[in-house]
Symmetry: C2
Subunit: 328 residues, 2 copies
DNA sequence: CTCCCTTTAGGAACCGGTTCCAAATTTACT
DNA sequence: AGTAAATTTGGAACCGGTTCCTAAAGGGAG
């Protein structure tokens, strides 16, 4: 039988309020402090979280909505969030939506019902329903990965990364390029990375670029890459994510093409695996863990009523490895 | 301003208890049902979870303690757990311990304090402190990945997987083997897989086996594998996890060895990436997602007071791919 | 039209904390 | 020692639901 604060009070011979004050650092004399401490240690009393939250009308829980658990980006962002929240005395509650947009919306409302202090939404696309939910909810929200003017957002610098990586391969002499992108519903990955790429390309009018669209899964990308390699002969496959690049790598292998001698490949993300495969992948690395920490930092500030920039941009870095050939 | 049940009652012109009964399916006349429904729809009233849990003295939340988020095994197990819990109307609360055993213990107590209905512990090692915590806690617990006689456990069939995979490579003619294992503190991965392996090896007394120990990280494994390849010349690197195999693959590449022509490699896990790299890795695949579902199923049964087997064993499969050479 | 039984509705107590307020005690100072 | 001020303590109300108990209303049978 777990004890309540009333039990403790009775055993210690004091009032409930005194025990509560003892626990929350109010004014209690040393003598009674001793008495209460003794009883609490003996009984192993633990306050009931619900009763506390009921009175406080809020929790110290930050809800994180994540489209999928099995992705490098998501995992590492979560790790960063968790790390910082723990430091700040908050708890992280994860809602996995399994890429179901409707569940994303549901989760927002469910968090509200549970009096969650704040929400971090690892977003892929922002629909009308999202905006409606975010507007109606009375708790602070931060978007990670996508930007929206109506909310606080933390994004990776997709445009610049796209621009820089394109410039890098252009400097390596590549002019015949296949761009393997994703749906434009995903503003960050589908639009911004591509815009960064095309903006860099514009400086080299002699370029021949073919655009393709793939899903996010390695196997989808492999299928598309296989088709590309049959149709035309680019010197490089410019892939919008590392997973797509992994699929492209596999496709090249299947076609008997050597990377980077026969064809070069680049990706975006900086997943751990890209470093240890052969050939190691040249990629634009994003700092997911740090981004998660930043997001957590911002949400804590918002919860505490402090001011936060509407838009935070997380850094990236071009990691030069083995998958890009220098053309003469 | 969010409304309370008392507000709804007042607006609808009924008593709190009537509204509560309406919400929880008690006897309410059609006329008052209509009235209350109307008010609730208009106000967008949502019951306060804390007040509910306070009275009910329990939650419908299952706590899952996970050593790390960025692992294929952990992610997929979580996905399986989440899927089944959602079906059953439970919520999953994840506690990430970042491989800190102390935090694992803390999390158990923290879950108890929060009146979590049940705990799923994705375990790596079970210490005295674990047993003590598990014994003291009044809520059902299921261990996943490790076995302990004092609790309910769900494990992968590591012994048989080790035995079968060893038998497989033995049949392929390999006799000079380097075994790349992990710490024996991890009973499942460090001991059982290895025991399965050695048991199979005993049938072939002419074998020459060298045992090595690595960490779980790809880079650690790469370092150890590099050392092995300098020291001796096995025909196969038998790795206790896919990540270790990935490190071994990289080491082989660095050494200029072709896989599988110059050296064969196998692992355990069945991570998605092992299928798309070149060469694709032969491995003992575990069904993490299904294991998670099983674990969730069992914890729900325990929470409902139903009977559950002390030990559940999840299946595995040997996936034959390209990384093992057949020796004549 | 009663009488009795079944529904429906309201009131109060309760879950386990926190907080406000007033009373009691201690401390400090003249 | 006496009084004002500061500190400590207890009691009661409150947070927002659920549930028990009782009273009132509705319905059916005689």
């Amino acid at each position: 039988m777990t004890k309540t604060i009333a039990d403790i009070a009775k055993i210690a011979g004091v009032a409930k309020s005194t025990v509560s004050r003892y626990l929350n650092g109010g004014s209690v004399s040393d003598a009674t402090k001793k008495k209460i401490e003794l009883v609490i240690n003996e009984t192993g009393y633990i306050p009931n979280t619900f009763a506390q939250s009921l009175k406080a009308k809020k929790t110290n829980i930050i809800g994180t909505i994540v489209p999928r658990l099995d992705s490098y980006a998501a995992s590492n962002t979560l790790i960063g969030i968790d790390e910082h929240l723990r430091d700040q005395g908050f708890q992280m509650l994860i809602a996995n939506t399994n890429q179901d947009l409707e569940r994303e919306i549901e989760s927002i409302y469910s968090f509200e019902r549970q009096k969650i202090a704040g929400i971090i939404l690892l977003a892929t696309v922002i629909t009308e329903a999202h905006l409606e939910a975010l507007a109606s909810v009375q708790i602070p929200v931060i978007l990670v990965g996508q930007q929206d003017e109506h909310t606080y957002s933390l994004i990776h610098d997709d445009f610049s990364a796209g621009y820089d990586l394109a410039t890098y391969i252009l400097n390596k002499g590549h002019r015949k390029i296949a761009y393997l992108g994703v749906t434009e519903a995903d503003i960050s990955v589908g639009v911004k990375r591509k815009t960064g790429f095309t903006t860099a390309i514009e400086n080299y009018p002699e370029c021949e670029v073919h655009y393709y669209e793939s899903g996010f899964k390695i196997k989808d990308a492999m299928g598309v890459a296989l088709k590309i390699l049959s149709e035309c002969k680019p010197t490089i496959l410019f892939c919008a994510t590392d997973n797509i690049a992994l699929g492209a790598l596999k496709a090249a292998y299947i076609k008997g093409l050597k990377v980077p001698e026969d064809i070069s490949i680049v990706g975006f993300g900086g997943y751990e695996i890209t470093e240890v495969i052969h050939p190691a992948l040249t990629t634009a690395k994003f700092y997911y863990k740090e981004a998660g920490q930043l997001a957590a930092q911002n949400i804590v500030r918002l919860v505490n009523g402090e001011k936060v920039e509407k838009l935070t941009i997380s850094k990236y870095e071009i990691i030069e490895r083995e998958s890009v050939d220098k053309l003469n």
